[in-house]
C-alpha cells in the first residue's frame, strides 16, 4: 500500500520529457518532488505562471509570487507570467500536456467529483472544472477507499460532478487503473504487497483485472 509520497512517486513516472504539467493541490503538488532527473518539465500554475520553481529560501518569500495553492514559490530561468484569461486559454486550447488532480470520487465512465459535498460548506471549484473539461490527459491522484472503508471508484458518482467522461487514469494507494473508453476500470499495476483480490474488493465500479497484473516498480 502506498502513502501519499508513494502515489506521487508513481504518478511522476507518467511524466514525459518536454511535458507542460498542471499540478493540483494535495498529493499532485508532491509529484514535483519526484520528477526523474533528465526529464525536462515545465509546471503551470493556473494563477498565471509557467515554469514554477521550488519554494523560496526562508527570508526570500515574495508576496507577489505564489502558486494556485497560494503558497510562496519561485520562478526558474525561462519562466513566464500571464493573466488569468491567458492561463485558462492555454488550458482550454490543450497546450498543457498533463493535468494531475485529486478527487473525492471517480466513476467507471470517467466522471469526477471533487468540489462539493452536499450539506458541507462549499469552498468552490476553483480551476478544477476548467481543467477537467479541457485537458487531454488527466491523472487523478486519490485514495481508493474513504475513511469508512467505502470505495471511491464507483459505477456512478454520488457527489455533484466536476466533469464528465474526462478521466483516463487513476493512481491510488492500491493501484494504477486506466478508465476504458467503453467504460470500466482496468487494473494496470498493483501497489507493492497489494493483491488483485484486495483491489477488487476496494473497487465498487466495474473492474477489469488480470490476475497477473504486475506490481508497480517505483524506483
Amino acid at each position: 500500500m502506498l502513502d501519499k509520497n508513494g502515489i506521487a512517486k508513481r504518478i511522476a513516472k507518467e511524466i514525459k520529457d518536454g511535458y507542460y504539467v498542471n499540478l493540483g493541490i494535495g498529493i499532485p503538488t508532491l509529484v514535483a518532488n519526484f520528477i526523474p532527473q533528465g526529464i525536462n518539465v515545465v509546471l503551470q500554475s493556473e494563477n498565471g505562471l509557467l515554469g514554477m520553481g521550488p519554494f523560496p529560501f526562508e527570508g526570500e518569500e515574495d508576496a507577489d509570487l505564489i502558486n494556485a495553492g497560494k503558497q510562496t514559490i519561485t520562478t526558474l530561468p525561462g519562466s513566464s507570467i500571464f493573466d488569468s484569461a491567458m492561463s485558462f486559454g492555454m488550458i482550454r486550447s490543450q497546450k498543457i500536456d498533463l493535468t494531475i488532480l485529486g478527487a473525492m470520487e471517480v466513476s467507471e465512465n470517467g466522471d469526477i467529483a471533487n468540489w462539493k459535498i452536499p450539506g458541507k460548506m462549499v469552498k468552490g471549484m476553483g480551476g478544477a472544472m476548467d481543467l477537467v473539461a479541457s485537458a487531454k490527459n488527466i491523472i487523478v491522484a486519490m485514495q481508493h477507499v474513504n475513511k469508512a472503508g467505502e470505495s471511491k471508484l464507483l459505477p456512478k458518482c454520488s457527489l455533484p460532478l466536476t466533469g464528465v467522461n474526462c478521466i483516463r487514469k487513476v493512481v491510488t494507494e492500491l493501484a494504477v487503473l486506466d478508465i476504458l473508453p467503453e467504460g470500466g476500470f482496468r487494473l494496470v499495476e498493483r501497489a507493492p504487497g497489494v493483491s488483485v483480490d484486495y483491489i477488487k474488493q476496494a473497487t465498487a465500479g466495474k473492474l477489469f483485472a488480470d490476475e497477473n497484473a504486475p506490481e508497480m516498480i517505483l524506483n
Binding site: T72, D83, S84, M125
Partner: protein, 233 residues
C-alpha cells in the same frame, strides 16, 4: 496624454454606491486593491455585488468588507479561507455564486473585448450548466457564458503612469488586467506612480485607455497566505 490621477482611494471610489457591482482583482491576497478595499470599508457602502476570484480572509482583503456586512453577493471561484464568510452564507445573509475560475476570467475578458458571450467546456454536465445554453462544436459540448457587466473594476498594479498605463509584478498580475479591461469605470491603485514616458510602451500590460482613475497607494501590507519555504543547505 490624458491625466487620470486622483488624490487617493477615497476620492477614487467616491461614486461607488450602495448596490454597485464591483470587480476586484487579485488571487487569494496576492495583488488585491488594498487601498480601495480600505476606502470602501471607511465609506461603508453596502449591498455590493463583488466579482472576485476569492473572498479574502477573515481580517484582510474582501474579508474586511464582509465584517462590515457590505457585501450582498459574491461571484467567485473559491471562497475557502473565511469563517465570517461561511457564517453569513449559512445564515442566508450572503448570496454566493460559484463559477469555474477560467469562466470567471474569460467572462471578464469578454467584457473587455466587446464579446457579449463566450463558449467554454468548463462545467458541461455539472450543476454549473443548469439553465445555460449548451452547444456542440466539432463533437465537443460547450456552455455559452455571458460577459460580465460591472459598474467598477478595482485593480492593483505595481507601476502605473498618469495616463493610466499599468504594469503588474509577477503573479500579482492574475485577474487584474482582465478586470481592468472590463469595468465601466476602472480604478487602479499602484505602488509607484510615474510620469508618462517612464514606462516602456512594450512593457505595458494594461493600456491606459482602460483605466479611468489612478493613484499611488500607501502602506501596502501584501500579506502572504501560505508562507512556504525550503531550508538552505
Amino acid at each position: 496624454m490624458i491625466n487620470k490621477v486622483v488624490a487617493g482611494a477615497d476620492e477614487a471610489i467616491s461614486d461607488i454606491k450602495n448596490g454597485s457591482t464591483l470587480m476586484l482583482g487579485g488571487f487569494g491576497l496576492c495583488g488585491i486593491p488594498e487601498n480601495c478595499i480600505a476606502a470602501l470599508v471607511r465609506k461603508g457602502v453596502k449591498e455590493l455585488t463583488c466579482i472576485s476570484n476569492n473572498a479574502g480572509v477573515d481580517d484582510f482583503g474582501i474579508g474586511l468588507m464582509l465584517q462590515q456586512h457590505q457585501v450582498k453577493k459574491m461571484i467567485s471561484s473559491y471562497v475557502g479561507e473565511n469563517a465570517e464568510f461561511e457564517r453569513q452564507l449559512l445564515s442566508g445573509e450572503l448570496e454566493v455564486e460559484l463559477i469555474p475560475q477560467g469562466t470567471l476570467a474569460t467572462r471578464c475578458m469578454a467584457a473587455g473585448y466587446g464579446m457579449p458571450a463566450i463558449f467554454t467546456p468548463a462545467g458541461v454536465g455539472t450543476e454549473v450548466a443548469e439553465g445555460k445554453e449548451t452547444r456542440n462544436f466539432n463533437g465537443k459540448d460547450y456552455l455559452m457564458e455571458y460577459a460580465f457587466d460591472a459598474d467598477f473594476a478595482l485593480v492593483k498594479a505595481w507601476k502605473g503612469d498618469t495616463a493610466g498605463n499599468l504594469i503588474f509584478r509577477s503573479t500579482s498580475r492574475n485577474f487584474n488586467p482582465v478586470m481592468a479591461m472590463a469595468g465601466k469605470i476602472t480604478i487602479a491603485e499602484v505602488e509607484e506612480l510615474v510620469e508618462p514616458g517612464v514606462l516602456d510602451p512594450d512593457h505595458i500590460h494594461t493600456p491606459g485607455v482602460y483605466v479611468h482613475r489612478i493613484f499611488q497607494g500607501a502602506n501596502y501590507e501584501k500579506r502572504i497566505e501560505q508562507r512556504t519555504v525550503r531550508p538552505r543547505n
